[in-house]
């Protein structure tokens, strides 16, 4: 299984990549870690005519913080995120999520920018970023803009990124809340059947703020808003379980060969209960 032929260009800067993408037209694709794109190309489900390799742009590989927010370069790998002491202190939800992606080999190659841009509803990092109210910085030929995670994901594999645009960095507010990511799969290394990102602030043993993100419960990552509202003020296990059950408020998730819609709802409420329980204990 070898990809169909394509032209290949190595970008030397973001400006160069934008120029190459503009020349390449609509069948040009950016290549970051290649861990979503190459599997699709090998199955010939994707047949770009030009690959613009941004993997060598080392200036898009960084983690830098100023106390209120942390900025992560788009080419930072899942491994670098999971391994970052600075991120572990400031945004533990992000490091624990990255550590649960695929396997070490995948984490050594896959990038946060690629994961966000690919917008696969089964991906883990987009859910955590949605729960953290992250912002995505996008460069285009005409200039740059920033899009909130809540507005970025538009459907399965569809996002606010336009043709030829490049996601260059991700900004995450530092909240001081505790973060847990829980995913359920049947086999080691598999994608999540359902995943839950919980960002929970506490005050004197009770929950003072709650953000709950859901993976693979719809065409995009979702927020469980009814659960979030019910969790505030809660401290006991029974109340947490009752709040978690409110996840049904998002409507019916998709059913497929891995899990029926009802089973997905059941998993989501159990995973929310456990994730929040992890924070409270």
């Amino acid at each position: 299984m070898i990809p169909a032929p394509f032209e290949y260009e190595r970008a030397t800067s973001v400006a160069h990549a934008l120029e190459l993408m503009a020349q390449g037209g609509e069948d040009a694709r950016l290549l970051a870690g290649g861990h979503s794109l190459l599997p699709l190309m090998r199955l010939r489900l994707a047949r770009p005519t030009l690959l613009v390799d941004i993997g060598g742009l080392d200036d898009l590989k960084y983690v830098s913080g100023n106390g209120d927010a942390i900025e992560i370069g788009a080419l930072t790998t899942h491994h670098e995120i999971a391994d970052s002491h600075e991120l572990g202190e400031a945004c533990p939800l992000l490091t624990t999520t990255a550590a649960q992606i695929g396997d070490p080999q995948v984490r050594h190659r896959g990038t946060i920018g690629g994961s966000v841009a690919h917008a696969d509803p089964a991906s883990d990092l987009p859910t955590a970023l949605l729960a953290m109210d992250a912002e995505f910085v996008i460069e285009a030929v005409g200039g740059s803009r920033s899009v909130a995670a809540a507005d970025f994901f538009e459907g399965p594999f569809m996002s606010a990124l336009g043709d030829g645009e490049i996601l260059t960095s991700i900004r995450v507010p530092v909240s001081g809340a505790s973060g847990v990511y829980r995913k359920f799969n049947r086999r080691a290394q598999d994608w999540a059947i359902v995943g839950v990102a919980a960002l929970i602030g506490t005050d004197g043993g009770a929950i003072s703020s709650a953000a709950i993100g859901l993976t693979n419960m719809g065409g995009t990552p979702l927020r469980a808003e009814a659960v979030e509202a019910s969790l505030v003020g809660v401290s006991g296990a029974d109340e947490v379980a009752a709040a978690a059950a409110q996840v049904a408020d998002i409507g019916m998730p998709p059913g497929d060969e891995q899990a029926s819609a009802e089973y997905r709802l059941h998993l989501a409420s159990v995973l929310i209960r456990r994730a929040v329980g992890d924070v409270l204990t």
């Binding site: 290649g34 861990h35 070490p104």
Partner: protein
């Protein structure tokens, strides 16, 4: 064709490759390094694992052009001057293989694990070998071998 230059097991190579050439095929077919196996071709089994700049990667899921300028280590590069690498010795002693098909990938993934965590627990090894499938051993002896190699490598590091 795209010109690439990379070091494989310490030897510098220059080659013109079609951009769609996967690293695993470049290693096997152009350099004749057939120790790197191709098991699934769908990024699942880990038989094709090599080290790219010291980190484990699945070489069926990287283009040869992405390895331009990089340092690649394959299973052929583990032994030094005819002496087995501690991980090879440990797989031999602990019976960490049966048919041997998964073994090159298991060895390279294990070297990667030990470079990031020189003193892993049984559970940490199992978790870190998630991307490598073995159809024969049931994994127990593989985990024993990695534990033994870790101990061996730590005591040689302490001695030197």
């Amino acid at each position: 064709m795209t010109r690439i230059s990379l070091s494989v097991n310490g030897v510098q190579h220059e080659a013109d490759v079609e951009p769609r050439t996967l690293l695993a095929y470049f290693l096997r077919e152009r350099l004749g390094l057939t120790g790197t196996h191709i098991g699934c071709d769908t990024s699942s089994c880990g038989a094709c694992t090599v080290l790219l700049n010291g980190q484990s990667v699945k070489s069926c899921t990287a283009l040869a052009v992405q390895a331009d300028g990089a340092r690649v280590t394959t299973v052929e590069g583990l032994a030094e001057d005819g002496d087995w690498h501690p991980i090879q010795q440990a797989f031999h002693e602990h019976h960490g293989l049966q048919c041997g098909f998964c073994t090159p990938g298991m060895l390279m993934a294990s070297v990667g694990i030990l470079s990031e965590n020189p003193d892993p627990t049984d559970q940490e090894i199992r978790h870190a070998l998630e991307g490598n499938l073995c159809r024969c051993t049931g994994y127990q002896n593989i985990v024993n071998a990695v534990l033994a190699a870790a101990e061996d490598m730590r005591s040689s590091a302490a001695a030197s």
